[in-house]
């Protein structure tokens, strides 16, 4: 062994694989939001199994809001691709469209609530109704947070701060928006199947 000491010796430990910490943090945040909704929907199942459950039709508006949220995800993705190709004016347009669709979604959810109220399903009453208000309300709050995020992205897009070389913010916002869209589809399917 002593021979080796006479020579120049190189040890090259590997650099650990890592990704952008902000993006990673966003995924962890998404995981915690998912746990929140998972626990509420499992609570729904547990409670439903105990009987004394009020049956009523989901407002059809919720189906329309599914369409809107899918459309908004498409426009967000187009915005993302535009950013990758440095098409600056297109980024703004698509993000703006997504924001408008987000607002539309919130309005539809609100009208859906009004529908339920006119069906005499209130927040206060049988938990089968209360759960829907809580689930949609909580999801709506997350949509509000995502719309604030979209506005921030829109602001940096108009300052030309988003480009193919500076994608972090755009990518995180797109991830979050897609997640919330998927979350709503999950909630809708869940609530439709488990009436």
């Amino acid at each position: 062994m002593n021979e080796a000491v006479d020579f120049k010796i190189v040890e090259a430990p590997a650099k650990p694989i890592s990704m952008n910490p902000k993006k990673f943090g966003m995924w962890l945040f998404i995981a915690s939001v998912m746990m929140l909704f998972m626990s509420l929907t499992s609570a729904y199942i547990v409670r439903q199994a105990e009987g004394n459950w009020l049956y009523f039709e989901l407002p059809t508006l919720f189906l329309i809001s599914c369409g809107v949220i899918i459309a908004s995800s498409v426009s967000m993705q187009l915005g993302f691709w535009a950013a990758k190709k440095d098409q600056f004016s297109k980024i703004k347009t698509y993000v703006a469209i997504t924001t408008v669709l987000g607002f539309t979604f919130l309005v539809l959810q609100y009208l859906g609530w009004k529908d339920m109220v006119s069906n005499s399903v209130y927040l206060v009453g049988n938990p089968s109704g209360s759960f829907i208000y809580i689930l949609t309300g909580l999801h709506g709050l997350h949509i509000v947070s995502a719309i604030v995020y979209l506005l921030i992205v829109l602001n940096s897009a108009s300052k030309l701060k988003i480009s193919s070389s500076n994608m972090t913010q755009m990518e995180m916002c797109t991830t979050y928006w897609h997640f919330l869209g998927l979350l709503w589809l999950y909630l809708f399917v869940f609530l439709t199947l488990l009436r």
């Binding site: 002593n2 120049k8 902000k22 943090g25």
Partner: protein
């Protein structure tokens, strides 16, 4: 090579400027709204210690009632005021509030925020070789959410209707109906607000810890070279991210039940003969949601302590930790199992007996990884050159509590035996030993061990020994007798047992427990003096006082912002090269390359050394 060197120089310079800026920051940015992980860790530690003191005093107050039910406590009038009855006894409603707040404070504010908050923040960047956390700003927010939550919980102690009093598990309907007990009024509202903020703080912290551990490790710091502390903090944060949102969901529905009239947890309730309008709710639903957090929470509290202990026991036995991979595997096993055992807290809620036996089985499986850990601690100690520093004593104390407290878990985890033992003092004894005292000892061990790195000074060892022995004996004197009281069937949370003939035989035992509790609390003041005095007057710490291998001891005595003034060290070996055969020293730090220690290298370690022979052929090294 040259280009790389130049690059490093640039980095260093940039960093120095950065550090400079921060040194010139004002008092507010340096010590209050700091984004430096070391300052935030100290903030968590000091807040946690303040809470521990409050929680401890509360426990002594209710122990006075339990140990000396006939005593006249009117000398406490200046502190407790209206909470004493006319004949100088603690008001029964206040007794329930004391128990509730003691539990809440100790579980969440001391052993979650105080333990994870302090040591995850302090050690993660220092031990993985990072300048700071992934997001210093989020880290700062995490502390201030915790602080706000602390303030609200603290304020609730002074309400005229008292703080929350439904037990730390806040089961509805008791906690949901303000008419039920005074503590379910404003006190409960503040409890929920405070806990909601606490959850936000905990999630911000956990996201940061995980992101940092995965993405910010220094060159060479692979997962198999991580110190076990970091593994423990990492898994704790993962558990936190998956379980705290569930507590949030439970609390959210409870808030709606309390304040907006929904009936998630309420049904068919009569108060004073009047039926409440709530129909269709299920109180068991709350228990499911609560314990889905509640059980993982036990490991959120315990795992960091186990990680700290692994590190300290290996360092002070001067031996590599026995079964590093088994330690990681068992922590992983515990983390996964912690999510599938929650219903063992609910065996007597009318659960299907078959489901009960499934949860019994899953619960008892946790004994396997736990036993692996104890076995590995003992085998690490076996034939080591043990140095009994205070930190080491506290770590060994943890192993002792983890064993004695863990064994009673086997009884409680059994759905049939639990019918007898449920909600008795046996449960109190079990979890105070295995989770409360064990985690507290882990925390203390951590403070004694990393005090030199935190404050650049040494604590007094003799006072540390005194603190350890008083606390160790005190804890056993407090909790061991409780097993007997519990087996006899005495239920927890009861204000008084003297009215029952069956239990009056335990008056002496209860008195002993109370005296021991007071002495144990008194012993903590030895620590407080030792801690505070030596922050200012301790003798300056050497760079590596324990001859440890991990990276934090390669920083300057008082690391500035950015931790290393120059380049971050590269990691070549695992953190447990203690007493390696052939080596001159009995420890080789992680940043020492194998090429510098040819005398102690193992064959596979030699293989990692490549010879850079420039233009020469491979045969060139033979001359």
């Amino acid at each position: 090579m040259a280009t790389i060197d130049v690059h490093h120089h640039i980095e260093t310079h940039e960093h120095d400027d950065h550090g400079h800026e921060h040194h010139h920051g004002n008092f507010w940015t340096n010590y209050i709204f700091s984004e430096d992980h070391k300052v935030i860790a100290k903030q968590f530690l000091l807040t946690g210690m303040a809470w521990a003191l409050i929680g401890g005093v509360l426990s002594v107050l209710f122990r006075l009632q339990l140990g000396f039910p006939e005593a006249n406590l009117s000398w406490l009038k200046p502190i407790l005021g209206g909470w004493l009855t006319a004949d100088g006894k603690i008001d029964p409603d206040f007794y329930l509030a004391l128990v509730t707040m003691h539990g809440t404070i100790m579980v969440f504010f001391v052993l979650t925020a105080g333990l994870s908050g302090t040591f995850s923040n302090f050690l993660i960047p220092l031990q993985i070789g990072a300048r700071d956390m992934a997001s210093g700003f989020m880290n700062m927010l995490s502390y201030w959410f915790f602080f706000l939550s602390s303030v609200i919980m603290f304020v609730s102690l002074f309400l005229s209707t008292g703080p929350a009093a439904g037990g730390w598990v806040i089961y509805p309907p008791l906690s949901a109906l303000p008419q039920a007990i005074p503590g379910s009024g404003l006190g409960m509202t503040l409890w929920l607000v405070s806990m909601a903020l606490f959850i936000v703080s905990s999630l911000l912290g956990s996201i940061n810890y995980i992101t940092t551990v995965i993405n910010l490790r220094t060159v060479g710091m692979s997962f198999t070279k991580l110190p076990l502390t970091i593994w423990a903090f990492f898994l704790t944060a993962v558990i936190g991210i998956l379980s705290f949102p569930v507590l949030f969901a439970a609390a959210l529905l409870l808030i709606f039940d309390r304040s907006f009239g929904t009936s998630f947890y309420l049904s068919d309730i009569y108060i004073n003969g009047v039926a409440l309008p709530n129909q269709g709710g299920s109180p068991i639903l709350f228990q499911h949601l609560f314990w889905f957090l509640g059980h993982p929470e036990v490991y959120i509290v315990l795992l960091p302590a186990l990680g700290i202990t692994s590190e300290i026991i290996a360092t002070n036995s001067r031996k590599p930790i026995f079964g590093y991979k088994a330690m990681v595997g068992s922590m992983l096993g515990i983390a996964i199992l912690s999510f599938v055992v929650w219903a063992h807290h609910m065996f007597v809620t009318g659960m299907n007996p078959f489901l009960g036996s499934v949860f019994t089985l899953l619960t008892l499986i946790i004994a396997v990884p736990s036993a692996v850990k104890i076995f590995n601690y003992v085998t690490t100690l076996w034939k080591g050159n043990i140095r009994f520093t205070p930190a080491m004593l506290f770590s060994i104390g943890l192993v002792s509590f983890f064993l004695t407290g863990g064994i009673t878990g086997l009884f409680l985890g059994n759905s049939a035996v639990d019918i007898q033992l449920h909600d008795t003092y046996f449960v109190v004894a079990h979890f105070h030993l295995v989770m409360g005292s064990a985690s507290f000892f882990g925390m203390m061990a951590g403070v004694y061990h990393w005090f030199p790195k935190m404050f650049g000074r040494m604590m007094d060892e003799k006072l540390g020994y005194l603190h350890f022995w008083l606390t160790f004996i005190g804890v056993y004197l407090v909790f061991f007798p409780m097993h007997y009281i519990g087996i006899a069937g005495f239920p927890r949370r009861y204000y008084s047992w003297t009215a029952f003939e069956t239990f009056s035989g335990f008056a002496d035992l209860n008195m002993l427990v109370s005296i021991a509790a007071i002495l144990t609390l008194a012993a903590q003041f030895v620590f407080l003096f030792n801690f505070i005095y030596h922050i200012f007057r301790g003798k300056p710490a050497p760079a590596n006082p324990w001859n440890a291998t991990t990276l934090e001891w390669t920083t300057p005595r008082l690391p500035g912002h950015g931790n290393w003034p120059g380049e971050i060290p590269t990691v070549y070996r695992w953190p447990y090269d203690y007493s390696k055969p052939g080596s001159k020293e009995d420890f080789i730090p992680q940043h020492i390359p194998f090429s510098e220690t040819p005398e102690s290298n193992l064959p596979h370690e030699n293989d990692q050394i490549k010879l850079d022979l420039g233009g020469a052929g491979v045969g060139g090294d033979k001359h």
